[in-house]
């Protein structure tokens, strides 16, 4: 299922609705890379609230999205990682590296607005 991406001012908000296949995740990466240029976005939010599992492929792809968009001049914030998902990720040894995170969409938007640094 293709992830809907909403344009809001200078921001793009990708809100994941259900479990994604590997192909869906790669599609999201490509869509965001293209749209960020088309709409001259400088802030991207990827809302993962609906993901009940984030395995190594998902984490690697989200990290790649953040790095790719950085090269396109935009800042990416991952929002909505569920507590159980965070626990499983840490136990497995997965990290988001220097990717920005926020508790939810509201906090994510605030982070983009303020530009304040809340790295992992």
């Amino acid at each position: 299922m293709r992830v809907p991406i909403l344009k809001q001012g200078h921001y793009l908000i990708a809100s994941i609705q259900s479990a994604l296949t590997d192909a869906d995740l790669l599609q999201l990466r490509d869509d965001l890379a293209e749209m960020a240029g088309k709409y001259r976005s400088y802030g991207i939010i990827v809302d993962v609230t609906a993901l009940d599992v984030m395995d190594s492929f998902a984490v690697r792809t989200l990290r790649a999205i953040a790095h790719i968009l950085k090269m396109r001049g935009a800042r990416t914030v991952i929002v909505g990682i569920q507590p159980e998902v965070a626990i499983a990720m840490v136990q497995m040894g997965l990290t988001l590296g220097d990717t920005f995170t926020a508790l939810d969409l509201e906090e994510g938007l605030e982070l983009l607005e303020s530009g304040r640094d809340r790295r992992e």
Partner: protein, 132 residues
């Protein structure tokens, strides 16, 4: 004892496998984060089947040892096999496009973990988790 099995042929089957694993684990008595941990481990070994063997299957069943109840997950393929299991179990070692966390990561998520592999014949990963 309940048992379910999912054929793994495409990345969509990875989602089906972890979903059925979570459902069965819920019936066994696992809760919250443990369900997510089991689903994540299944996701990793299912992806290994796709990446290295192309197809295979995942079997999930309830298991018991004395009074302990748990879940048993078996991932089987007839792929190329793993020449050096010790190396494959190391963090960051990968012969595919992955980040090399599939096997060592799943081992950290589960209580028991075993890899049985013969080059040219295939690989079987067996893992267990017990209800706390």
């Amino acid at each position: 004892m309940s048992e379910t099995r999912v054929s793994i042929h495409s990345d969509a089957d990875i989602i089906a496998a972890r979903r059925m694993g979570r459902e069965l684990a819920e019936g066994v008595g696992f809760s919250g984060s443990e369900l997510t941990i089991i689903a994540t481990a299944i996701s990793e070994i299912a992806r290994n089947i796709i990446e290295y063997a192309g197809n295979g299957e995942i079997v999930v069943r309830q298991t018991q040892q004395g009074t302990r109840r748990g879940i048993l997950v078996i991932a089987r393929d007839r792929g190329p096999g793993i020449p050096d299991i010790e190396l494959a179990m190391q963090d960051g070692y990968s012969t595919s496009k992955g980040i090399g966390l599939g096997l060592p990561g799943s081992r950290r998520l589960m209580d028991e973990f075993e890899v049985d592999s013969t080059v040219g014949k295939g690989t079987t990963v067996t893992m267990k988790k017990w209800v706390a």
